[in-house]
């Protein structure tokens, strides 16, 4: 491999890290340093902790060639059910267990319908999204629940305070939980039988079926496992805010899918790693924060987000096209003219 080729490969693999660095530099300059304040950076990450945890599940689904539009409402359904239980004074551990059970159940239902009907999950999860939306409002009666115990709020909302010369620095343990979960997700993807099959499903389902793997079972399993991460995301989100309502987590699926695609995970399966999702989500988080600090109008922020996403897709397509073009090249040189 020539130097030029290896450079272009490095650029291709790490371009989003480069974008991240460039963004940080731009915002550091435009905000006059406020942006680089450690507390600010910690806050940015903390606001996105639950999204990144859900993102692990969404990454599984996307890599396996699937899609789930109902995740935001799954988060709110789980949050509302936990809120109801907290209100009636249930045991904290029981609340958390029910949260996880509900997450697995909702994921399994989506996955089972998908595996049986074999239609692109867009339609299925669009339908379940409506159902869950209705269910959360029916359950919550449009109320907000604020009676979570400190034990429940520990994972999502507990902060360690460091006393530094320059002032106090609060560090939420949610970030540590998040890092552990992302590492777990990466381990599952790279090192386990299940992870192999996630890639296999997204890459070539026909070959999976002919390799003696139960295609339907595997598809359901991907959604069920993703449900675990959705439930944990919901617990973290409710814990951090200390409250839950029908609005908790709504829109999470689009933010995370946008982040994952931005980072380089292919819609419809076939490629990408856990770190792609992480870097994409960080870019989105920093963009929002930077623009807030610049006092940019919220609506302009939406416009900027859309443009960034379009640019990312364009870049990805250009890279894919270039790879395909290279693959067609023949080795050697033209024969000498006679």
């Amino acid at each position: 491999m020539s130097f030029k080729q290896s450079m272009s490969k490095i650029l291709r693999d790490y371009i989003m890290y480069l974008v991240l660095v460039v963004l940080i530099i731009i915002f550091a300059i435009t905000t006059g340093g406020t942006f680089l304040n450690p507390q600010n950076l910690i806050n940015v990450v903390n606001q996105n902790v639950y999204l990144l945890i859900i993102g692990v599940g969404i990454t599984f689904i996307m890599l396996s060639g699937g899609l789930d539009l109902s995740i935001g409402y799954q988060v709110s359904t789980i949050a509302v059910v936990m809120g109801l239980m907290a209100k009636s004074g249930s045991n904290t551990l029981l609340i958390i267990l029910v949260g996880f059970a509900l997450g697995i159940f909702l994921g399994t239902v989506n996955g089972a319908i998908y595996a049986r009907l074999k239609v692109f999950p867009f339609m299925i999860t669009l339908a379940t999204q409506y159902i869950l939306n209705g269910v959360t409002y029916l359950l919550s009666n449009s109320k907000t629940f604020r009676t979570f115990t400190p034990g429940f709020k520990f994972l999502g909302g507990y902060n360690i305070t460091f006393r530094l010369a320059s002032g106090n620095l609060t560090f939420p343990i949610g970030i540590i939980v998040m890092i552990l979960i992302i590492m777990l997700g990466a381990f599952i993807l790279n090192k386990t039988y299940f992870g192999r099959n996630i890639y296999a499903l997204g890459s070539n389902p026909e070959a999976v079926a002919l390799s003696g793997v139960n295609l339907a079972k595997m598809r359901v399993l991907v959604f069920s496992v993703a449900g675990v991460f959705v439930a944990l995301g919901s617990i973290m989100c409710a814990g951090r805010i200390g409250a839950s309502s029908s609005g908790t987590g709504i829109g999470a699926e689009f933010t995370v899918m946008a982040g994952a695609m931005l980072g380089g995970i292919k819609m419809g399966g076939g490629g990408g790693k856990m770190n792609n999702m992480v870097v994409g989500m960080l870019i989105i988080g920093l963009l929002n924060n930077g623009m807030n600090l610049m006092n940019l109008n919220q609506y302009w922020q939406y416009v900027a987000m859309g443009i960034v996403l379009l640019l990312a897709i364009t870049l990805d397509t250009l890279q894919t096209e270039a790879t395909e073009k290279r693959a067609k090249l023949v080795a050697g040189q033209p024969p000498a003219e006679e």
């Binding site: 599952i188 090192k191 386990t192 039988y193 299940f194 192999r196 890639y199 296999a200 890459s203 070539n204 026909e206 070959a207 079926a209 002919l210 390799s211 003696g212 793997v213 139960n214 076939g270 490629g271 693959a327």
Partner: protein
């Protein structure tokens, strides 16, 4: 039958009346048509003329170039050399537009219908009938043609709800309502029943009487003798000869079709037939009926037949990828119940699929990833894959199959066809298989890699494995097989032992004609 006039249009009045010097009036002439594809000459200097008012059949084995040839006439592909004369105009190549304005219509082997539209809308697709869609008129046109066929299809039915025989009729109707001057039919009877074929034959005769040229491609030689005036033979992309159908017979035609020299040397192997490894008794499913055969250890069983004869289909049933309707599968003399590919693999059956990119491997993943895919569960402890074992297995097959790649981490996408095929074979072998079904093992790979695959098959054979090889490559079939079974029309047509191997005998069995086909098509 009423309403025959639906096919007559003003166009036909411009053509000479039947019987007037037909031999000299060539509607379509191709001269020196040559088409290259990477690595092969698909059409090699073909010159051929078609007269008005004749049914001109084109025959040839799998891969003789029939489909490519008709695609040059319809404008679907552009020849690299040669020219085509249509009526009085000469073109270097035909574009789809030229084809349309000169009244060329083609019915391809695969359906080209729009599933979501109704039968009538499909038939009238591309026709100009006023400014807006005229549903009534369309339904009337369609109903008229269906009446011709004497077939009961509601013109308003969406195409996706039709059976394949009905789709074929819609396809034919679509072409003939355009009153073509040249109608090309590529295996038009593949999905039709006997009575529908008879109606088609009548319609062809009728169009011929109006002076249209019909180019008829079929592997069923009986049909060729029934319908055609002249027949041209292609072989390996070359034009062989044109005969008057009346003056020839089946053996002569077969002789021209196969007259190929077996040039390539095949690596020799010395093995004695072992025990029965796989036996099928009246196995039925996936559209294929009552297949009975035996495959032995230490032996290559060749499975011959024309494309679509049901070879791949029945092997998918054996492998558990398709539903078994009835019949038995015996492995090493014991009856087994295989319901999924997983079951098949547990009994030691491996399948190297026909389409390696679509069914065989994971292009976006690495070589080692692919090789160990079938066994990752076995080499996992608790949940984690044992990466040392993974590397061991991948390396051993990588070396044994002499896969040429810079490293095991190379993506399969970036390998040549031959090396991709080796990866697929390695993946099947890694699962510890003893009965290996190769479906078109050397399709689209270069000569050197082919040879290596043959040598590998010999090695496996000597190790005592049972090899079943489905192939459409006649040389490979004769060169590699110890025995050959021939399929025709979704049934067994016969079996040949090594003493009886000949190209003629195989083709005779494979083009068994209509005799096996009954009206009871399962829908």
């Amino acid at each position: 039958m009423k309403g025959h006039k639906v096919f007559v249009s003003l166009h036909y009045s411009m053509l000479p009346i039947k019987g007037s010097s037909l031999d000299t009036y060539n509607v379509l002439s191709l001269s020196h048509i040559t088409k290259f594809y990477p690595g092969v000459v698909a059409l090699n200097d073909i010159s051929l003329s078609f007269a008005a008012g004749e049914v001109h059949a084109i025959v040839g084995e799998n891969g003789a170039g029939k489909s490519t040839f008709i695609k040059t006439i319809t404008g679907a592909i552009k020849p690299d050399k040669g020219e085509i004369t249509l009526q009085h105009d000469t073109f270097p190549c035909i574009t789809p537009n030229i084809a349309r304005t000169h009244g060329i219509e083609c019915i391809y082997q695969e359906f080209n219908l729009i599933d979501a539209l109704s039968a009538a809308e499909n038939i009238c697709y591309g026709k100009r009938m006023g400014k807006l869609v005229n549903q009534k008129e369309m339904n009337k046109i369609a109903q008229d043609v269906f009446n011709q066929f004497g077939i009961d299809i509601d013109p308003g039915t969406p195409v996706r709800e039709l059976s394949s025989a009905q789709k074929q009729i819609v396809e034919i109707s679509k072409a003939i309502t355009k009153s073509p001057r040249i109608l090309i039919l590529d295996e038009p009877t593949a999905s039709l029943t006997v009575s529908e074929i008879e109606i088609l034959m009548k319609i062809i005769a009728q169009m011929k009487a109006y002076g249209a040229t019909i180019i008829y491609i079929s592997h069923r030689l009986e049909e060729i003798f029934e319908v055609s005036d002249r027949v041209s033979v292609l072989r390996d992309g070359k034009y062989i000869t044109t005969l008057k159908t009346k003056e020839t017979d089946r053996p002569e035609l077969i002789k021209y079709m196969v007259g190929r020299e077996l040039s390539e040397a095949y690596p020799k192997r010395k093995t004695e037939q072992g025990d029965v490894a796989l036996e099928l008794r009246n196995l039925t499913g996936n559209g294929v009926k009552n297949i009975s055969l035996k495959a032995y250890n230490n032996e290559v069983l060749g499975v011959a037949g024309l494309v679509g004869a049901g070879r791949t289909e029945i092997m998918k049933v054996v492998f558990g990828a398709e539903h078994r309707q009835w019949g038995k599968v015996l492995v090493n003399g014991k009856e087994v119940n295989i319901k999924t590919p997983k079951d098949a693999m547990e009994y030691g059956i491996g399948l190297i699929p026909e389409d390696r990119k679509l069914e065989g491997c994971f292009l976006m993943e690495s070589i080692s990833w692919n090789i160990v895919y079938n066994v990752i569960r076995k080499i996992s402890r608790f949940l984690k894959i044992d990466s040392r074992k993974e590397k061991e297995i991948a390396e051993s097959y990588f070396n044994r199959l002499r896969i040429k790649a810079p490293s095991l981490e190379q993506k399969v996408l970036n390998l040549s066809g031959g090396n991709q095929q080796k990866v697929v074979v390695a993946k099947a072998l890694a699962a510890d298989t003893s009965i290996i079904i190769f479906d078109e093992p050397t399709r689209g790979i270069d000569v050197g890699a082919k040879h290596e695959i043959y040598e590998l098959m010999n090695e496996l054979c000597q190790e005592g494995k049972c090899i079943i090889m489905i192939t459409s490559d006649m040389e490979e079939l004769l060169g590699m097989s110890d025995r050959i079974v021939v399929f025709a029309e979704q049934q067994m047509a016969g079996e040949l032992t090594k003493e009886n191997f000949s190209q003629e005998a195989i083709l005779e069995l494979a083009s068994g004609g209509r005799k096996g086909k009954k009206a009871e098509v399962v829908q």
